[in-house]
């Protein structure tokens, strides 16, 4: 009867899934590296190493630039981990924002149905119809560029799809007899949504969220590419990849290192998401 019964069960099942455990471990290392490396490194993200000639140095242990330097002579090791930090932060926060709004909105619309559902989903349709790059541009022009604005902008767009997915599931769940049973028990609508609808869509939501995280990372790099994302000297993985792609022929490490970290990150998130989905299904045993 403990409050965390479902989640402790899920955690136990997750630990028996080897791929998910390894992915979780690697992800933890990546997160740790992104947090510690920028602090521990003797270099700063905007510090040019003038001792180098040429400024773009390949990875080397001798000169202390383990991942090499970019074309401006800045240490890539510290820039990659700082970029990972920014990418993860944007991805996780924006996903949480879209998760919270999308699940609440979708479950309410789907459960209540009828006219409420119509109005709530038409509102989603209207927001969908807005070209969101344009929307983000307006936001940045009005409020100025900041990392928080990116969370907000991506979250504000991301919840729409989440709401649609959850609403579809809630609509189907509403017909199930356990919901009818909950109604005949006299439980109020908000409690039925919170206890009988939302937990049953979490499996789908988790899977979609793990797909959203990489999407957000990519969208953030797209915004950065347009000059609307994070600003120099701050960087993100998407930005580093975009910059590295320009020097692909002369300095391939500038592309390969951030790409490898990005790929590893996305891979781990996907494995973890798969594992979570299986673990959250109580019929798994």
């Amino acid at each position: 009867m403990s409050e965390g019964g479902l989640w402790s069960e899920a955690g136990r099942r997750l630990r028996t899934n080897r791929a998910a455990v390894v992915a979780g471990g690697v992800l933890a290392l990546l997160v740790l590296a992104s947090l510690l490396a920028p602090v521990a490194s003797p270099h700063a993200i905007d510090q040019v190493d003038w001792t180098l000639s040429p400024l773009a140095s390949p990875p080397s242990l001798a000169n202390g630039h383990w991942f090499g330097t970019d074309s401006n002579g800045r240490d890539l090791f510290v820039r990659v981990w700082s970029g990972t930090q920014v990418s993860l932060l944007v991805a996780v926060l924006a996903t949480l924002v879209s998760l919270a709004i999308g699940v609440a909105w979708g479950a309410t619309a789907g459960y209540l149905g009828g006219r409420v559902d119509d109005w709530m989903m038409r509102f989603v349709d209207v927001l969908y119809a807005l070209p969101y790059v344009f929307f983000v541009i307006i936001l940045t022009v009005v409020f100025g560029r900041s990392l928080w604005l990116i969370f907000l902008a991506i979250g504000a767009v991301g919840w729409l799809t989440m709401a649609r997915i959850v609403r579809g599931q809630a609509l189907a769940l509403r017909q199930r007899e356990f919901v009818a049973a909950a109604i005949t028990l006299g439980l109020p609508a908000h409690r039925i949504i919170a206890r009988h609808i939302v937990p049953n869509v979490l499996g789908t939501v988790v899977v979609y969220a793990t797909l959203t995280v990489p999407q957000v990372i990519l969208f953030e790099s797209f915004l950065s590419f347009l000059g609307l994302g994070v600003q120099e000297p701050l960087t993100s993985l998407g930005r580093l990849v975009a910059e590295g792609a320009l020097e692909m022929e002369t300095a391939p490490w500038q592309l390969l290192v951030p790409s490898a970290v990005l790929a590893l990150l996305l891979l781990c998130l996907n494995f973890l998401g798969d594992g979570l989905r299986d673990a959250l299904d109580p019929r798994a045993d």
Binding site: M1, G113, F178, A181, T184, P282
Partner: protein, 327 residues
């Protein structure tokens, strides 16, 4: 009936508006459920027996339109607000559904589902809710009630789940339990267990509406039987009187269709010729007339009204017996 009825349904109709027109699922049904009695509602699939009681609890789909009245201890349920309905649902009327596989939320442990109503209403502390959940599981005859509380629905068999669903419905000690085909989805031995649980629950003065199409179930538990055909109640009678002498030809045909082991000729099972009217089909006169052995000319013109007698009522122009004329 001397005591004031617990549930009193008068001229209740349920219409579904579909793209192909209006479907009358229930037509002017009237019945009473007395405190402590068990009323069985019998009918084929589509006869409206479930819809009738779903309507009383406000559980019909949005496209259904209801007319008439359903009063629970004098309080009108049709058209009542969700808040007013929630005051009655769960605490005073509870319901058990047909499919035990879907009747419990998969992501909550049995103990938490049982305690949910009590906690939501603030009727018990978490500890008390657990104790009462335990007692409820023991009450429905589940072994190992203690460990069952920690299990999830998928870890139980269909019969066990149905008993949990009944235990859940009885948690708040309601006055009326509506059981919608509680044994239909179960195999025969498990059916017997569930019926025993329902019979035991009745000892505490619980009134029950048992919706079923199984006359065998009816005989073992019900006090009175209401028989529905094509959305109408065609006969209501005490179970003994009905089994001894059905008044409506449809009731008689139903009883004849029950297979008996004692029957000398183990030949073909007897069935009722023809089909009930399709949903939405408009039938002139009595809906059973096309299949009726005793059909008279008036049957095809006029819908017979439910004529009440001393203990039973029948809606037929040519009943096998006339309860309203019996002394």
């Amino acid at each position: 009936m001397t005591a004031a009825p617990l549930l009193s349904i008068r001229d209740l109709s349920v219409d579904f508006v579909t793209p192909r027109g209006r479907v009358q699922a229930v037509r002017e049904a009237s019945l009473d459920v007395a405190p402590g009695e068990c009323l069985a509602v019998v009918g084929e699939s589509g006869s409206g027996k479930s819809q009738l009681f779903l309507a009383c609890l406000g559980l019909l789909a949005a496209r259904a339109a209801t007319r008439g009245s359903a009063r629970f201890q004098g309080q009108e349920l049709l058209g009542a607000s969700a808040a007013a309905l929630n005051a009655v649902r769960g605490t005073r009327i509870a319901m058990v559904f047909q499919d035990p596989m879907n009747a419990l939320t998969p992501h909550l442990s049995i103990g938490r589902q049982l305690g949910e109503v009590l906690l939501d209403r603030g009727l018990a502390s978490p500890l008390e809710a657990r104790e009462r959940g335990l007692a409820a599981l023991q009450g429905v005859g589940l072994a190992d009630a203690d460990s069952r509380l920690r299990q999830y629905p998928h870890e139980l068999s269909g019969g066990q789940r149905q008993r949990v669903a009944i235990a859940m419905a009885l948690m708040t000690r309601p006055e009326l339990l509506i059981a919608d085909e509680p044994t239909t989805a179960l195999d025969v031995t498990v059916q017997a267990q569930v019926l025993r649980v329902l019979r035991r629950a009745r000892r505490d003065g619980l009134a029950m509406v048992l919706i079923t199409h199984d006359l065998g179930v009816v005989a073992g538990i019900a006090d009175r039987v209401a028989i529905m055909y094509a959305g109408r109640i065609v006969e209501i009678a005490p179970v003994r009187e009905l089994f001894a002498a059905p008044a409506h030809p449809y009731a008689a045909a139903l009883l004849e269709a029950v297979p008996r082991l004692s029957e000398a000729s183990v030949g073909r099972l007897r069935s009722i010729e023809g089909q009930p009217p399709a949903p939405g089909e408009i039938v002139q006169g009595c809906a059973f007339a096309p299949r009726c052995a005793d059909v008279a000319e008036i049957c095809r013109r006029e819908v017979p009204s439910l004529r009440p007698g001393a203990t039973r009522a029948v809606a037929c122009h040519a009943p096998r017996i006339r309860p309203d004329l019996e002394s």
